[in-house]
């Protein structure tokens, strides 16, 4: 495994921490909201209840009073027997109903001071009562509005119901006291403690918090166990498996999550499927690569064998100075269907072959081997008529030619001593000829069909004559049909131009010039067809001087 491919080990705690913390946060928020709503509801109900009972006490206390005597008491500050009796009953009521105070007084016209008539204080508080006629100047501004409301409407106080001050939680009730004519002559105030409420509320909050904490702990534990079993552990398994597979490319053990009904199961099955697919691909690619290498090695040998079949040692006839011959073949693939050949039939006759099997690659190469061998065999038997050589080759090649390949052949047989010769063209390219001091030109004439096309073809042949200094150039369609990146053909005209660049050059140089010109034209485009060329320069019987 290369370093680039190595998967960096990262902490896999992340997922479980996020999921559980999220769950805990939700539980905490929910229980806080529940507790708060419960707390508020609880408080509201109890406050209302306490306040109602404070008003009940106030109503009861009101029945004890004799409002007709209020002004007399305040004017004289004298307590009579009835006063004392009422005072006693109010004191009893205060203690019995667990009130802090019950007082009766008169408010001044600005609602800033209260002058007390009766004032009962719960005995447990340990305060002294305000005496009859005592005026308290420091009326809480919060009371003022209420006092005004009570006096003006003769009804209840509208607000200032609850207080949670230092003296403990309490609720207040305020009522107007009217005389027989219905005139408001004073007010009665009751302050009742809410100690029970305060305690109960604290208890409630404690309970809720405790229960919420217990539920939170249990829920988090259960949830994380569940989460771990159904999600986190399978994901860790899958992650580890994927990481392992990325490292060593070996099939591992089965994943537990494969049987899961959730998406995790799908993920696990996909990972497993992907693993087996990749294993299979690797297997296939390994086999294909091995096969390809084997084929490639065999093709290399085939290329070598094919190259060895063509005469490739130059100068080919070091002891003959009547002519100079040179030929090349560049297959487009490893092996090609083109071939050239030249050999001496006897001391005075040189046979030259340029041929192109239809198709490319191995099938064409196999056909080329047969065609080349048959043509050479028939010619070397002493047959000096190219048409007859081709006819015999045609008969043999047509036998069992199921692949229906055929081969275009130019076959020329030159009498070296005279320069006279015969040539047959079985569907091949036009040869190019340069007379001494002239220019290369294509020799165009009607050709015979290609070899191996049909049984019993009669091939045409014609005479030609070379004079000292003449140069003959034969080639396959790979030259004229070389194609550049824009799909443009090289064409016969460019080939002739290339040949005429240096018409006096030796065959070897000529071929190199044409090849270079083709390569420059084609550029980066891939070679599409075999490129095969043969050049012959004739010096005459006298030889090259």
């Amino acid at each position: 495994m290369s370093n680039e491919g190595h998967v960096k080990k990262v902490s896999k705690r992340g997922l479980s921490v996020i999921l559980i913390a999220g769950m805990a946060a939700v539980v905490i928020i929910l229980s806080t909201m529940t507790a708060y709503i419960g707390f508020a509801e609880f408080t509201a109900v109890l406050e209302q209840q306490y306040n109602d009972s404070a008003y009940e006490v106030a109503e009861t206390a009101k029945t004890y009073l004799n409002p007709e005597k209020f002004s007399q008491y305040l004017d004289t500050l004298e307590k009579d027997e009835e006063f004392e009796l009422i005072q006693q009953r109010l004191d009893d009521l205060t203690n019995a109903t667990d009130c802090n105070f019950i007082y009766v007084g008169v408010v001044d016209s600005n609602y800033t001071s209260t002058t007390y008539i009766y004032d009962s204080v719960n005995s447990s508080l340990g305060f002294d009562r305000y005496p009859l006629g005592y005026t308290s100047k420091d009326v809480d501004p919060n009371y003022a509005e209420d006092l005004k409301h009570i006096v003006e409407t003769g009804g209840r106080a509208e607000k200032y119901l609850y207080s949670y001050g230092e003296s403990g939680a309490h609720t207040s009730a305020g009522l107007a006291v009217k005389n027989a004519e219905g005139k408001v002559v004073g007010i009665i105030g009751v302050e009742k403690t809410m100690r029970v409420l305060e305690n109960a509320r604290a208890k409630y909050v404690n309970h809720v918090v405790t229960i919420a904490a217990i539920i939170l702990v249990i829920a988090v534990v259960l949830y994380s166990l569940y989460l771990h079993r159904t999600v986190i552990s399978p994901i860790k398994d899958i992650t580890n498996e994927a990481e392992r597979f990325a490292e060593d490319h070996q099939t591992g053990s089965e994943l537990k999550a494969v049987s899961s009904k959730f998406e995790i199961g799908v993920l696990a099955r996909s990972v497993k499927k992907m693993e087996s697919d990749i294993m299979q691909y690797i297997d296939n690619i390994t086999k294909i690569t091995a096969e390809k290498e084997r084929i490639s090695a065999e093709l290399n040998v085939a290329t070598q064998i094919q190259a060895d079949m063509l005469p490739s040692i130059f100068p080919a006839f070091p002891d003959r100075n009547e002519f100079d011959i040179y030929a090349t073949m560049n297959p487009a693939k490893e092996v090609g269907g083109d071939f050239y050949d030249f050999f001496l039939i006897d001391d005075d006759h040189l046979a030259m072959v340029m041929a192109d099997v239809s198709g490319k690659g191995v099938p064409a190469a196999l056909f080329m081997v047969i065609a080349k061998t048959i043509i050479k065999n028939h010619a070397q038997l002493g047959e000096l008529s190219p048409a007859k050589v081709l006819m015999q080759a045609n008969e043999q090649l047509c036998e069992g030619n199921e692949a229906e390949l055929f081969v275009t052949v130019w076959l020329g047989i030159l009498e070296i001593s005279t320069g006279k010769g015969k040539a047959a063209n079985a569907g091949h390219e036009h040869p190019a000829l340069r007379r001494k001091d002239g220019k290369f030109e294509l020799i165009q004439y009607r050709h015979s069909p290609a070899v191996a096309t049909m049984d019993g073809i009669r091939f045409k042949e014609h005479d030609f004559e070379l004079y000292p200094g003449d140069t003959l150039f034969v080639y396959t369609d790979g030259v004229a049909e070389a194609t550049d990146a824009h799909n443009e053909l090289y064409g016969g005209d460019r080939m002739i131009d290339a040949l005429n660049k240096d018409p006096n050059a030796s065959p070897k140089e000529l071929l190199a010039t044409v090849k270079k010109s083709v390569d420059e034209f084609v550029g980066e485009a891939p070679q599409f067809d075999d490129i095969t060329m043969l050049g012959l320069k004739y010096f005459g019987a006298e030889g090259n001087k």
Binding site: G427, H428, H447, P449, T453
Partner: protein
């Protein structure tokens, strides 16, 4: 390359448009082989054919051999350039060119 086939009973006319080269020849070969059953006259219309390579010639040769057994094959409408290829390659002697 485009291949347009028109069948009229035992007569099949196949119009070939574009280039018939190494890449497209196998396509024409399989198209023709799949459609000549029971055909007595196969007419190849080359009026829109731009180029034919040796691979294309091989398809023609192969079809000519098949049609020799069951009827005839006619090649018509070839342009001057195509005719020249037929002439140079000697196919002019092998095919029935109109």
């Amino acid at each position: 390359m485009n291949i347009i086939k028109t069948q009229n009973g035992e007569n099949l006319t196949v119009k070939v448009e574009g280039r018939l080269d190494t890449v497209t020849a196998p396509q024409l070969d399989s198209e023709l082989k799949a459609s000549i059953e029971g055909i007595k006259t196969l007419t190849l219309d080359f009026s829109a054919l731009e180029y034919i390579s040796s691979a294309g010639l091989r398809v023609l040769l192969s079809m000519q051999k098949l049609m020799n057994k069951q009827g005839e094959m006619i090649v018509k409408g070839s342009s001057a350039a195509i005719l020249e290829i037929f002439e140079v390659t000697g196919f002019i002697d092998l095919l029935n060119i109109e």
